[in-house]
Symmetry: C2
Subunit: 319 residues, 2 copies
C-alpha cells in the first residue's frame, strides 16, 4: 500500500468516526479526480447502500437553494440528519446569485446534523457527474442517511446529475412559461415530484393544470409511481413538510415495487460505461502529443494524408 | 477496391461534373457516418481548398433562416453561386418553426446557382459536427465557391459547428436581453461579424451600444480584425448587401494577415482529435457488450468489485 492510499484510508476512518475535516478533505480528493479520487472510491464502495439520495433541479432563479434550506430546517425539526451537495457546472454568469443563496444556506452550517458542500467543475463536465456520484457514495458510506443533490441550471449535465438520484424533485415557478421550460430540458420525463415554488405568486393553479395535463399525456401503468405535485414558498418554509412527505412516499413506493433497486442498478451500469469512456478519452489525449503526433498532423495539413488515415496511424498501437 | 468505394468514386465524379442527385447521395453517406462516410472523405480530401465557409449562428427566433434567404438573393444578384447547409441538432421542440423557415428558403431551391441541404443528428452530437465539416469539404471539392452553414440554437454543439467556419456571423435582435444571451453562450468571443437582425424593431441603437461596449472590453491588437456590426431586416432583404460586404472584408483581412490559414489549420487539428476520440468511444461501445461485460457488471452490482477495477478489467486488452 503506498503513501497515498494509506492517507485516504486514514482519512476515511476518521470521516466514518465523524471527523468533518477528514470528510471535507476526501471530498476535495474526489473533486480533483485522478488516482486519488479512485483510491477514495475503492475504499468507499464496499460500505455503501444505506443512504438515500434526493436530486433537486430546475431553472436558475426557481428558488432551489432557498427551498433546500427550508427542507433542511424541516428535516432537522424531525431530528433527522441530512447532507447537501450543491453542484455548480461553473458558469461564470450566475456567480452572484449562487453566492447569495449559498450564504443563506450556510445558516445551517454550524448545525452538526447538517453537512453542506459545494462542488464545481474541474475540467471535463462528464467528470463533474462522476465526481458527484462518488461524493454521494462517500456521504452514504460515512453514515449520512440522506443526501440532497442540488444542481444549478437545466443543461444536459445538470439533468444527468439529477437523474442519478433515488428521488428526483423538479422545481418550477408559477407561470406557464416555466413549466414549458422544464419540459424543454427533458425535466418532465425524469421528475418523481414537481414542486411549484414561490407559490405565493399568482398563477399557481394554471401551472398545476399545465403539469397535470402534461402528466395525463404520459402513459403511467396502474402500479407505477405517478409524479406528485407539491406547492411551496421557500422563503417562509411553507410546504417544506409536504415536500418531505412526498419524498418519503416516493421512496416507500419505489422500495416496494423494486423500481429503486432497478434505478440504482441502471445508474451503476451507466457509471461504469462513463468511467470507461473517460479512460479512453484520457488515453486519446495521451496519444495526441509528441513528435509523431506533430509529424502526422503536418502530413495532414500539407494534404499528403487525410484525417482518417492520420487517425488510423495514431491509433494503430491501441485499437 | 471494393464495391462500396467504387460507388463513392463514381458518385464523386458525377457530383464534380455538376450532378446534384449524386451530390445529395454523397451528403447522405456523410450524414449516415461510418465506413461509407470515410470513403467519401478520403476521396474529397485531396481536392479541397478553394471554397469559403461562412457560419451563421444565434438564438432560435433571431431570424437566421430568413436572413440566409435574403443573403442568397443578394449573392445571386451578383451572379455568384452559393451553397447552404442548415444544421439541426434535432430538438423535437422547435420542429414547427424550422419547417416554416425552410419552406421559405426553398424558394431558392429551383435556382441552379444555389444548393440547399438540411443535416440533422444521427446519434452522437459530436458526429454531427464531424459530418458538417465533411459536408463542407465535399461542397468545396465539387466546386462550390461559398458555403453558408446555418445552425439552429445556441448550444455547445451549435457553437462548435459555427466555430468551424472561415467567417463567423452571430445574429442577434434589438433588445438588451438578446445580446446578453449571445454573450452567455460564448458567442461574443467567436463572432467575426455581428448582425442586428429585425432592425425595423425598436432598440437597435441600444443593442449596438451594448455590443460596442462589450467589444471595447476585449483587447484587440491594432492589426487584428475587430468584429463588425451590421443591421439587417431579413424579411425585406435590407442590409443583406452590407452583410455580404462585411463577410468579404473579413475574408480579405483574414487572408492577408494569415489568420485564415491559422484558423483552418487549427480546425483540422481539432478534427483529427475529434476523429480519434470518436474511434475510441466506438471501441468502448464494442467492449461494453457480451458475456464478459455482463459478468463484470454483475460483480459490480453485487459489490464484489468496484466500478474502477471493473473498468480496469474491461480495458485490460486495449490500454
Amino acid at each position: 500500500m503506498n503513501a497515498r492510499s494509506t492517507d485516504a484510508t486514514e482519512l476515511f476512518k476518521d470521516a466514518c468516526a465523524g471527523d468533518r475535516a477528514a470528510l471535507a478533505r476526501l471530498l476535495s480528493l474526489i473533486e480533483r479526480g485522478g488516482d486519488d479520487a479512485r483510491s477514495v472510491g475503492r475504499l468507499v464502495y464496499p460500505k455503501i447502500g444505506k443512504g438515500y439520495v434526493v436530486g433537486l433541479t430546475g431553472a436558475p432563479g426557481a428558488g432551489k437553494s432557498t427551498l433546500t434550506s427550508a427542507l433542511i430546517s424541516h428535516v432537522r425539526s424531525l431530528k433527522q440528519e441530512v447532507s447537501v451537495l450543491a453542484i455548480d457546472p461553473s458558469s461564470p454568469f450566475t456567480g452572484g446569485a449562487i453566492l447569495g443563496d449559498r450564504v443563506r444556506m450556510q445558516s445551517h452550517a454550524t448545525d452538526p446534523g447538517v453537512f453542506i458542500r459545494s462542488m464545481a467543475t474541474r475540467g471535463h463536465l462528464g467528470g463533474l457527474s462522476l465526481a458527484t456520484s462518488e461524493a454521494v457514495r462517500l456521504l452514504d458510506a460515512v453514515g449520512s442517511p440522506c443526501t440532497l443533490v442540488e444542481t444549478v441550471g437545466v443543461g444536459q449535465v445538470e439533468v444527468e446529475i439529477a437523474r442519478n438520484a433515488d428521488t428526483i424533485v423538479v422545481v418550477v415557478n408559477p407561470g406557464w412559461g416555466d413549466s414549458v421550460q422544464a419540459n424543454k430540458a427533458g425535466l418532465l420525463e425524469i421528475a418523481d415530484i414537481f414542486v411549484i415554488n414561490k407559490a405565493d405568486r399568482p398563477g399557481v393553479d394554471q401551472t398545476r393544470r399545465d403539469l397535470e395535463q402534461m402528466l395525463e399525456l404520459s402513459d403511467f401503468t396502474s402500479t407505477a409511481w405517478r409524479p406528485m405535485i407539491v406547492t411551496t414558498v421557500g422563503t417562509t418554509g411553507q410546504g417544506a413538510d409536504s415536500l418531505w412527505d412526498a419524498i418519503n412516499q416516493h421512496r416507500a413506493h419505489a422500495t416496494a415495487d423494486g423500481s429503486l433497486a432497478t434505478r440504482r442498478e441502471q445508474r451503476l451500469r451507466n457509471e461504469l460505461r462513463a468511467i470507461i469512456e473517460r479512460r479512453l478519452e484520457h488515453r486519446a489525449r495521451e496519444i495526441c502529443t509528441g513528435d509523431r503526433w506533430e509529424a502526422i498532423q503536418n502530413e495532414m495539413l500539407s494534404h499528403s494524408r487525410d484525417p482518417w488515415s492520420a487517425a488510423d496511424e495514431m491509433l494503430a498501437g491501441i485499437l
